[in-house]
Symmetry: C4
Subunit: 232 residues, 4 copies
């Protein structure tokens, strides 16, 4: 039963990607975890978005074994799996990977995406960090799992529920959330604020960020116990 | 009766926002004031644009009391209200807030949007100013009302009918007008001229602005007693 | 009879403007001349593109007198008229004015649009020039006619059939051609090559232009007696 | 029989160009080769994309003689032909030429497109090179054939199956592939990674490229005997 729910949520979130402008060609995938069973659904590898069906989503367990599905899962599957192993107990039940262009620009230039204004603060309570460059051993070894490892390493002193995205250096963004819709929304917000930051830095390359009191105000206006944005 | 008119004007203007390219996700809201009754309609908070109806607009008076409506009003409501208190007697009967990307770039970089050409002069008779950074007390206090205060403060020596928009620093633009259509048109013009300014400053970072005689000519070609643009 | 032909060509060309991405809001107009009668049709001022009909185009003679039409013609009409007076005998029978964003960036920065590659050379046999800044007397006098004068002045040593566009400084582009379709195509090509030039100059601010032999080759591959592009 | 297959593949690939955002106006063409007969189909010159039919594609042999077709072939035909002569035996059976804007920016600035991240590595195993400037004799001689010659010259030490695209200086990109779909996909990937590179270089003009081990990993994850991306 739960399998069907994550299968459909995964299908719908993947289908939504091209219309959001987040993915070109087939550069993007979403997974959705059922935290009770420890099973997650993910897009099959290299399949066009309009050829997707709920039935061709691939289901795996957290050891990486395929539970259901005829097709090969996304080649990025071990990265998604690594993030669930680290953060499922903090409510991370969906992961999105894209090559959205503005976020990629920060990843390729090796820069954290700075928190320059309230649009950013509404989603990310601080800069969106970039990982270190992966070593030869990491890339030549279990590359996609190691990608997850450098992400988790970068979050050693960060809270994945307050900063639900990262930039893998020379690669691109991963975002996550408490539902498939939330993770896609976070990926969209990331791409939007990366566009704003690119333009802001063109006007003033020395910008560092919005003041702390403004950042905190906006993040906690929308998140946590004292949030007052939206309907209750 | 008038309530129904502002409710519908408000609904139509908010529905128009996504198609104009001014808003991403739910980052934008429009309000419309009935100046006779001192009642204004505004978008409910955090509701998707395609879930809006004339009936779920929220109606408030200028003291911030909800007059009609089941939903919570936009969290930015006190900012809109502050502007009506200051400028309703100058004909400001609609306010638009967006996070449109090019205007946000100027807000985030803390720069006035300079008046570089006639497209700008057709709408804004001078630079579109940026506010000062808000203090800790202002942000931690009645934040959205204080946002209105720093806007009004910035206009101490400016005429809101000649420059119908502002950039709140590290946040984004507010625009206004003599009708819902006019306020949305001013917000669109702001985003367009911010795009043009970004590109012009990329070609020449030292640009300051169009000559005064050209600016005056274009603004008053479209506005005021001697306007001759459009049909009479 | 001819009136009906220019009326319809004018209507169709104006209607086409929003879909080309050349105009925002109502910032653009096309006129079409019947060179035999010296009568031209032009868009009415400040009317939305989807409210246009062949019947509400305005017809004027080359002295600026309205021959047919209930509405006021575009406020830019004297500029169009000035260009026909100068260049109708060289085959210029349609003029387009827009505020297309990339071309405006060059106009606002006071820079000629350099000829950086073959896309440019296919349409413009050299840089697209920018006018000088207009004087106080010119702006305060018969402004729109004087705008035409500074354009014609700038072309003193240039051939309007080889460079069918100009940038009015702090304002925007005018383009022209041997038919309504050709003038709109030239305006589109201008906007495209301005986009390419903005990006090229971002990569290398010191670019000056494509070599003369390449420029000549491409222009005359498409234009003149020895052209061999397209079907004959 | 084969003629009909390349005619239809050529028609479909050319029709697809405007929707991909790769071509403005009529700036683009695709050809498709039947390697057995040495006959290729190409778009007719200067014809609008929506006026194309399988029947008006032009068929030529590798000596440039028209085999079938009433219309003149694309003026760029000799360039396509030159590439087939050089690389058909390495599996190049389709060539695409566009003036896509981001790729043109690199061509116009005379810079190789650097390999800054995994999106690039997924398609091109190294920088996409720019040709030298063509000489007066080359441009005034058999220009389009000579364009092919400078492309082939630039690949003297490069493998066209590992880097399936080039930037002709002051002109624009050519891409190729093992099928019409693949060559168009390569042209799209080129335009996407050029956009990412423009933005990355704006953030850090000194970027040189992704590390070799990451580049190799990603290219060979998708290409060659040990590829494991997609379905088998």
């Amino acid at each position: 039963m739960n399998y069907q729910a994550i299968r459909e949520a995964c299908y719908e979130a993947n289908r939504k990607l091209p219309a959001t402008g987040l993915v070109d060609l087939t550069f993007g995938n979403v997974s959705v975890l059922d935290p009770d069973s420890g099973i997650f659904a993910i897009k099959p590898s290299g399949v066009d978005y309009d050829a997707l069906t709920p039935e061709n989503m691939v289901l795996l367990d957290l050891d990486g074994r395929i539970v259901e599905g005829e097709l090969r899962p996304s080649s990025d599957t071990p990265t998604h799996r690594r993030l669930y192993c680290a953060w499922a107990d903090q409510g991370v039940v969906s992961v999105v990977h894209t090559h959205s262009r503005n976020a990629v620009a920060f990843a390729q230039s090796g820069r954290d995406l700075p928190c320059l204004g309230t649009t950013h603060c509404d989603y990310f309570n601080g800069p969106v960090p970039v990982t270190r460059i992966m070593s030869v051993n990491e890339v030549d070894g279990d590359y996609e799992w190691e990608t997850g490892n450098v992400i988790v390493e970068r979050f050693a002193d960060l809270d994945p529920t307050e900063i639900p995205a990262i930039l893998v250096q020379h690669h691109g963004p991963f975002a996550w959330g408490t539902s498939a819709n939330k993770s896609v929304e976070n990926a969209r917000a990331l791409e939007i604020v990366a566009d704003m930051a690119l333009k802001s830095l063109a006007l003033n390359p020395d910008l560092t960020g919005a003041p702390d009191h403004l950042r905190n105000k906006h993040f906690f206006r929308k998140h946590g116990a004292s949030a007052y944005y939206g309907q209750r």
